[in-house]
Symmetry: C2
Subunit: 340 residues, 2 copies
């Protein structure tokens, strides 16, 4: 039975091979980076049940909506959200354009490069930095700036582009859902315009399927009379906590059949999804693998964190309500595509 | 050459018939309700050029976005926007639930049934009626109420369901664009939640592809602890004029390649679309057919109106900028599907 896929491919065409060799079985597994276990089985069973037209749990194709949080669910969020790193690293450019900011806090602290002081900035300081680096420019200029930054920035631990830090098992899951007729959406607390820059290339998710924290824009004209949109510091949607189901209603207008998250900010999205009729899949990624990625909770005695907090209360609620917890340590065979 | 399609269908299978009979030519016309003329040719040429991979004007499938205004572009908007009729007709239900409103203006006037007085209500009065009839309820309740109303309400002229008053040539155009890989969106000044109720059934456009004037919702729980969203009187997007390109950026995140409208409220959407690189199709429907539908402008000496105003300035701008004007009278062979 040692027939390899390569050998099979040179057999006369049209023959349906009946020996399910190991190579063949692996090729057919849509989630090869997932260990066999409850999490993988929940996903496979859900997709089978909702796409089999003879099943009582069948979901018509146009209603197949699956929503995914991004930070900590699709890619690494520690030690700091990538978008916040972007904003901090953009400060020198902003200060160069507006030199009067150099002696104004919090810009002065960021420009000092003093990591300890930067880490202690208040939420209010951070909001000032976000406003200065994410608004005030044209939407096309912003897109070009983010694209440029992503092409050169490297994360502090693996020294790789941030877009390399996506989780392979989740990329497989996105593809598997789409292959089965699910429209995949990102529903992120991060900036909608920021994530849209790379979502199509990195996740196969087009801009119109990215729901995120969104500010208004204003329509105007450049000196040549060409119209353009400017990003304004006017918050329209804070896409976190209760803002996630609110954002889903605003941008999608249908309740998802599947939702994936990793922190308390995803609680209401999962609750809202699960409250729909019929079969629903709701899952939370638990970061319990300090060796291959990071470990934080504080659920299950994991270290406490302010970035992507997964409380014990959320863990207990998940267990009691049938939201499935994915253990990165136990459920994922491989975390990143570039690992051996 | 009198071979009919019916006769052809009983010929032995597999034969490619080479006589292009009239029946066959008609079957191949994707826009049979359009008269041959400049408007139809602009559409056919645009689609051919942007979908032919050997053309310099080719647009990759994922970038094919086409946006359509609704009122006056896809369905009848005279003598009054359908959604405003809905709001006025909902007032008795609202007053029954809150009897204290019966003696408060503008509800008292609406309850009087005095059409002349109702027609004279100010914009401010109208906004009070919209707020009372479009907000304060759960999103699922609202959807059920609109669905129920649409099933019984009849328009004053043709005595037909409002959803029968869609323009057949535009329905053909929507299908033709989709067949050629264009993702079709409604971008309407009307309420996003209102239009989403029937857009999939009537236009083949799913809820997530309806962009409209949108209010916020708030996430909460019913007495059984089940989560639901309540429609709040907090405007997030006024999807008219400059609000249309702003709404397109918020909800789609890409500039359309084709945009269709009929009034000054669509001006910026067309301008923004046309300002993109490469080939873009921008068209305005002119209501110049009092006999088969309505005639209003005031462009080209047509009667003036406050519902769907098409000014002479817009007409002149369209002519000077290469936005194509569709004459309902001359370009459309048939207006409604139910006409003979």
């Amino acid at each position: 039975m040692g027939l390899t896929t390569a050998a099979a491919s040179i057999l006369p065409g049209g023959l349906e091979l009946v020996f399910p060799s190991q190579a063949r079985a692996q090729a057919q597994d849509p989630l090869p980076s997932w260990n066999d276990g409850a999490a993988k089985q929940f996903i496979l069973s859900f997709v089978r049940a909702t796409t089999d037209s003879s099943s009582a749990k069948f979901v018509p194709p146009e209603q197949r909506i699956a929503t995914f949080d991004q930070d900590g669910t699709l890619w690494v969020e520690h030690p700091m959200y990538t978008q916040v790193v972007y904003c901090l690293e953009r400060v020198p450019v902003v200060v160069k354009a507006k030199p009067e900011l150099a002696n104004v806090e919090p810009f002065q602290t960021v420009m000092s490069g003093n990591r300890e002081a930067i880490a202690k900035l208040s939420m209010n300081d951070l909001l000032k930095i976000l406003a200065a680096t994410l608004t005030g420019m044209g939407v096309d200029d912003f897109e070009a700036e983010v694209k440029q930054w992503l092409s050169t920035a490297r994360d502090p631990r693996w020294k790789r582009p941030y877009t390399d830090l996506t989780y392979l098992p989740m990329i497989e899951l996105l593809k598997y859902m789409r292959t089965n007729g699910y429209k995949t959406y990102i529903v992120t607390g991060g900036g909608q315009d920021f994530v849209r820059v790379y979502a199509e290339q990195v996740y196969g998710i087009p801009p119109e399927q990215v729901v995120g924290t969104a500010s208004g824009t204003s329509y105007g004209y450049d000196k040549n009379g060409r119209p353009f949109l400017t990003k304004e510091p006017k918050l329209l949607l804070n896409d976190n906590n209760a803002g996630k189901p609110e954002g889903i209603h605003l941008m999608i207008g249908r309740r998802p059949y599947a939702a994936f998250g990793n922190s308390t900010g995803d609680r209401q999205m999962l609750e809202y999804t699960k409250a729909g009729d019929g079969e629903r899949l709701t899952m939370l990624v638990l970061h319990d693998d300090a060796k291959r990625e990071y470990a934080y909770g504080p659920a299950q005695g994991l270290p406490d964190t302010t970035v992507g907090t997964f409380t014990q209360a959320l863990y207990d609620e998940a267990k009691s309500k049938g939201w499935n917890v994915i253990s990165m340590k136990n459920d994922w065979k491989q975390i990143f595509a570039w690992e051996k």
